[in-house]
């Protein structure tokens, strides 16, 4: 019976061994920053809970999110997660095509009404009644609304779905619009980045299907476990910033010595993402490590914030999860200072701690 099938059943059917399954669970727990005891909870949930279908829609996008996801640094994570999600509907990955594919959507609604996760890559263009993105003879925005009506929660993959990205850059001719501005009656988890880091994507989706709840989100709707810190704060070149050692021009002496890329436009000081800790391609490298500044691709409206090569002048609070700690300076002058200082200090120290299990579900 499809309804009582668990994730574990599905994985076994796809030839994933129990050993691999257990390894995946502990990798995921570690990737989520949870203590080792949570691996057991993930195992239990995937073994016993009925499988939550994931429908993966594509609007205006370049498929870089999918490319990142299927090249997850740990191939095991990719295999496992793909065996869980690719069954239902994903334009890029599924075998079905044409009418047969579109029928799958209706079948999912019929069988899993209110219980499936809608993963959206890209966004809908709203100008000309949505005519700039047509799928199966209809504007994409209609398909999105229809599928969102019956889903449990939405994951907005990448900067397109989360903020709009390049297709929404000025003058945004098609009126490309992020998911949360089109679907307002369902919870939306934003996983920005162009693309997001593969481990972040597998982590978020596994968390949602294993624990059957949304990860803790910041005020902008991003999972705190991956988006609560600025790249700058965990950058391995940070000591050079602190010491005033900057690359003045690409390929100068400072560049060869691995100095801070701030002056050549690095957006690390204002970008919330996990690149400086998780890195890319299985922890191999990331933009700053390859000698180029961060473009700030996980931040809202990053295409329209001026040149990629001009230095950030305002390090002020951009509304991220750290806002309380960041903003403390502005409100601390009065008599309440000590309480506020204590709060800022607690969150600052907590950020340094390796053990995040206290924040787990």
């Amino acid at each position: 019976m499809a309804d009582t099938e668990t994730f574990y059943d599905v994985m076994r059917k796809h030839g994933i061994t129990r050993r691999s399954f257990l390894k995946f669970c502990s990798l995921t727990a570690a990737g989520l920053g949870l203590g080792p005891e949570f691996a057991g909870r993930i195992v239990h949930a995937l073994e016993t809970k009925p499988r939550t279908p994931v429908i993966w829609l594509h609007g205006l996008e370049c498929t870089c999110c999918t490319e990142s996801f299927i090249r997850s640094g740990n191939p095991l994570a990719g295999d496992v997660v793909l065996s869980m999600i690719s069954l239902d509907y994903d334009d890029t990955l599924m075998a079905a095509a044409g009418h047969q594919a579109e029928e799958l959507l209706e079948q999912t609604i019929e069988k899993y009404d209110g219980r499936y996760i809608l993963a959206c890559e890209g966004n809908p263009p709203l100008n000309e009644d949505g005519m700039y993105c047509i799928q199966a003879g209809k504007p994409y925005v209609e398909k999105l609304r229809h599928m969102a009506d019956h889903c449990k929660a939405i994951i907005a993959w990448g900067s397109c779905a989360s903020w709009g990205c390049v297709q929404a850059a000025r003058p945004n001719p098609t009126r490309a619009t992020p998911i949360h501005k089109v679907i307002t009656d369902k919870p939306v988890v934003k996983v920005p980045g162009c693309p997001p880091i593969a481990e972040v994507m597998t982590g978020v989706i596994t968390y949602m299907i294993a624990f059957d709840e949304l990860p803790e989100l910041d005020r902008q709707g991003r999972p705190k476990m991956f988006y609560s810190q600025r790249l700058h704060d965990k950058c391995y070149r940070r000591p050079h910033f602190d010491a005033g050692q900057f690359v003045e021009r690409f390929d100068d002496e400072g560049a060869r010595k691995g100095y801070c890329l701030y002056k050549v436009g690095c957006k690390g000081p204002t970008t919330y993402n996990a690149c400086s800790t998780l890195e890319w391609n299985g922890g191999l490298s990331w933009p700053v490590k390859s000698g180029h500044g961060c473009l700030g691709c996980a931040e809202d409206n990053f295409w329209d914030k001026g040149s990629f090569y001009s230095a950030v002048t305002n390090f002020g609070v951009m509304g991220g999860a750290e806002a309380t700690a960041d903003r403390v300076g502005g409100v601390i002058a009065g008599a309440a200072a000590i309480g506020v200082a204590a709060h800022a200090a607690v969150s600052a120290v907590k950020h340094l701690s390796r053990d995040k299990s206290g924040e787990a579900p």
Binding site: E37, Q229, R230, H232, D233, K234, Y236, R237, R238, P239, F241, D242, A243, G244, Q245, F246, G258, P269, A311, V312, T313, N314, F315, G316, V317, E322, A325, D326, R327, V328, G329, G330, I332, A333, A337, I338, A341, A342, A344, A345, V346, A348, V349, H351, L352, S353, R354, D355, G358
Partner: protein, 149 residues
């Protein structure tokens, strides 16, 4: 002779004068100050406040970290838990470890308010995690290693 907090302050005052002139993220209301440094085994731990950052700093008491590459991350146990530090290497100050406490110090209106946060940080760092949460650890929690929420 390994540098102490006074040398650290002198070194960063020089950086402020020589390299940080005119940079937009420098907060003119703040000055370089070493706050709350105290011993941690052979090492010393405290907060280094400058007009452009507030870091927790570990000054080594031995040469244990000299082999680490600058930019490497090391985990160091303090009463508050396993904290992650980055290796710094300066021509004059040698090797020391730092961990960023706040993304920006641009919003502090004055030295006094920044110092208050720094002092509190030092307290938190030397308080066991249970006390940092404002509640003593129970026997059951102690035995199971889990904290009730």
């Amino acid at each position: 002779m390994r540098p102490g907090p006074a040398e650290l302050v002198a070194g960063f005052r020089r950086i402020r004068r020589e390299r940080m002139r005119g940079l937009p993220f420098v907060n003119p209301a703040l000055e370089v100050e070493a706050i709350g440094f105290r011993p941690d085994g052979p090492h010393r731990v405290g907060v280094l406040l400058t007009p452009w950052f507030m870091n927790l700093v570990l000054l080594p008491g031995d040469d244990g970290w000299d082999a680490a590459a600058p930019g490497d991350r090391l985990v160091h146990a303090l009463p508050a838990g396993q904290l992650e530090f980055t290796v710094n290497r300066d021509e004059q100050l040698g090797t020391f470890l730092s961990a960023v406490l706040l993304s920006s110090v641009a919003d502090f209106p004055d030295q006094r308010s920044a110092r208050a946060v720094a002092r509190e940080v030092v307290q938190q760092v030397f308080a066991p995690p249970a006390a940092a949460g404002g509640r003593p650890i129970g026997r059951r929690e102690l035995l199971t290693g889990r904290r009730a929420s």
